[in-house]
Amino acid sequence: MNAPVIGIARTLNYYAYYPFWQGFFDSLNLKTVVSSPTTKEILDQGVKDALAEACLPIKLFFGHIATLKTKVDYLFIPRIVNLNRKTVYCPKFLGLPDMIKYSYENLPPVIDIRVDNRNLKDSLLISSLKLASFFGFSKLQGFKAYREGIRRQNLYENLLQKGYLPVNEVNVNSPKLFSVKSSFKIALLGYPYLVYDNYVNLKILEFLHKNNVQVLTAEQVPWPIRNKYAPFTNKKRLFWTFSDRVLSSFQYFLKNVPDLKGIIHLTAFGCGPDFIVDRIMEIDAGEQQIPYLTLTIDEHTGEAGLVTRVEAFLDMIKRKSR
């Protein structure tokens, strides 16, 4: 029997946790296939398959799954609930495997193991062991695979903190693009599946790079530091992981980067949590007089229009600081 092929979508959790799973599967010699980088066709397909009211990232995910489903033996859609013990993922992540299962006919089996580090039963380690045994491996092999996953994940997060910008591809072994160092610093804040996906972000990362702008992203602020900047009023923090990441890193940048020139918030049409994140940042940035730009992406946004707006934003900053 041939070894099974496991399909992973190149979106949503991909830009955050892929190194862990890649390490895990590699260590067990299981073959994985990642869907190709987002294209117009992929997004169009997702728009067709998902509910019209869904946010862009859900549609994107549907599109990626659609290209994968005929090519693999399993679809890997873990239900990631919590990893840091503090925040959970946005509701769409929690219902992702179910949405996919009930939307497509003739799917390969969906692996939807649950990961919730707040409880022992579903912690990342236990879920990894379960996953390994599902494929017929021993606990020891599972544990080793878990360790390899963690190792690569740490490597990845360190790279991110140093300024690695994973455009379309998360590659721990030969990371390609590094941010330029420059005194013109812009924080480009948004969820990793928007910021690092070169089709979705309409090449804005490349554009900033070409214009010698140093890009600060949420992933560059390590968790222990971010954790201190988390509550956005005295009382509450955002309880969704990625939103919390964006907002807390924003607070950190605002207070610790004296030469911060501006903030760009990259957000997707129809994103629920983001309306809260966006308005808070807008108000707070305004109070500090830091230029702030919201870029909302939907399936019709054209590259040209977006680039013009970013250009105008940069010009405005330059004029201002002259």
Binding site: P91, K92, L94, Y102, G272, D274, I276, I283
Partner: protein
């Protein structure tokens, strides 16, 4: 001590019980205005574009009420993963930015943080009434909520069966006042009895073929009629009986007492095979209730959701499948400020017609 002026978001008939409770606590209550087109327009103007409809309506309500002079706003919180849990924090920020200096008191679910809940209650109790006094006040107004729910359910049953269109709605409005004006538990009891008696006098046809429609969805658009264009009334007038999945009496119980009500447990159990995860909002309840309605022989289901509401989007995706599997018609409304009453009515009419035809077919076969 100065008497503080307080307000809260508008939500169905329940505002009358909230009012009673807060007055018992020594507040001067500034009643929120029943949401109107103006409320929504205000909300739309100052809320972020992608916020959901309830968020906008509630912000609009505050903006209409605050100019009357308000010291405090009391509202509910939540710990996610639905956005509603952060509403208050963002409302507060926006209102502050606009120059309103009002203090927010946010009640978080006591199950999550009992100590915090107690602290908030103590803050709310600024006149330092005894716990016993507060207990009595809560009990009294809780009784009121129950009465309001009972009467509403009765109206939902009678409306499709009335002989003269509009007679139930008119009477209902009238008898509601009995309960609203009652104070002591005894008075509330009597008012409830009298209200039911009056409703029972309305001429109805109990033999009429009435289709039964379940209604699920997000709590605010379910409970606040102005946010859903009085959909229940419309459905009743189309000759269908609505059974709403959520009443405050059920919800509050499930969120305050450690032993959850049986009903909710079975809703969860029913949802499990389709959606094993609590996804926030009321997505899981929508699935569970749909299954229960199917089992109870309902003819169809309506789902109400704010536009972009993630839990309900997840639910809708799954409901599509459930609808196919069980040959069970489901109609979803995603509501936002652009939704028009006329368009909604047309869709409802077609839907109820379909349910009636299906039911007749079934009856003639058997």
């Amino acid at each position: 001590m100065k008497t503080l002026r307080i307000t809260f978001p508008y939500m169905g008939n329940y505002v009358h019980a909230f009012r009673g409770l807060l007055e018992d606590l020594g507040y001067e209550v500034v009643m929120p205005v029943k949401p109107s087109k103006r409320t929504l327009d205000l909300g739309v103007k100052y809320a972020p574009e992608f916020s959901c409809l309830p968020y906008k309506i509630v912000l609009g309500t505050y903006l209409e009420t605050l100019p009357k002079g308000v010291d405090r706003i009391v509202t509910s919180g939540g710990v996610g993963p639905c956005r509603a849990g952060l509403y208050a924090s963002l409302h507060e920020k926006i209102l502050k930015k606009m120059g309103y200096n009002v203090e927010f008191i946010v009640l978080e679910p006591p199950l999550v943080d009992l100590k915090g809940f107690y602290k908030t209650v103590q803050k709310l109790n600024y006149k330092n009434y005894s716990l016993w006094y507060i207990y009595k006040a809560i009990k009294r107004n809780w009784r009121k909520i129950k009465a309001l729910d009972t009467i509403e359910q009765k109206a939902l049953f009678l409306r499709p069966r009335e002989l003269k269109k509009g007679s139930v709605s008119a009477k209902y409005k009238e008898v509601l006042q009995y309960v609203i004006n009652a104070y002591s538990e005894k008075e509330i009891d009597e008012a409830e009895q009298e209200a039911l008696k009056q409703l029972d006098k309305i001429p109805v046809d109990l033999e009429k073929l009435v289709v039964k429609v379940g209604m699920v969805g997000e709590i605010y658009v379910l409970l606040e009629p102005s946010s859903n264009f009085e959909i229940e009334e419309t459905i009743g007038h189309l000759g269908a009986e609505v059974k709403r999945s959520m009443f405050l009496t059920g919800w509050t119980r499930d969120n305050t007492l450690p032993g959850k009500s049986e009903e909710l447990v079975s809703v969860k159990a029913a949802a499990k095979p389709y959606l094993p995860e609590l996804i926030g909002g009321h997505g899981q309840d929508s699935i569970g209730n749909a299954i229960l309605y199917i089992k109870q022989g309902f003819d169809g289901l309506i789902q109400l959701a704010p536009f972009t509401c993630i839990p309900e989007i997840v639910a809708r995706t799954i409901l599509t499948k459930i609808s196919q599997e069980h040959n069970f018609p489901i109609l979803t409304f995603f509501l936002d400020e652009q939704t028009g009453k006329a368009g909604m009515e047309t869709r409802l009419e077609a839907f109820i017609d379909l349910l009636k035809r299906k039911k007749l077919q079934k009856l003639s076969k058997s």
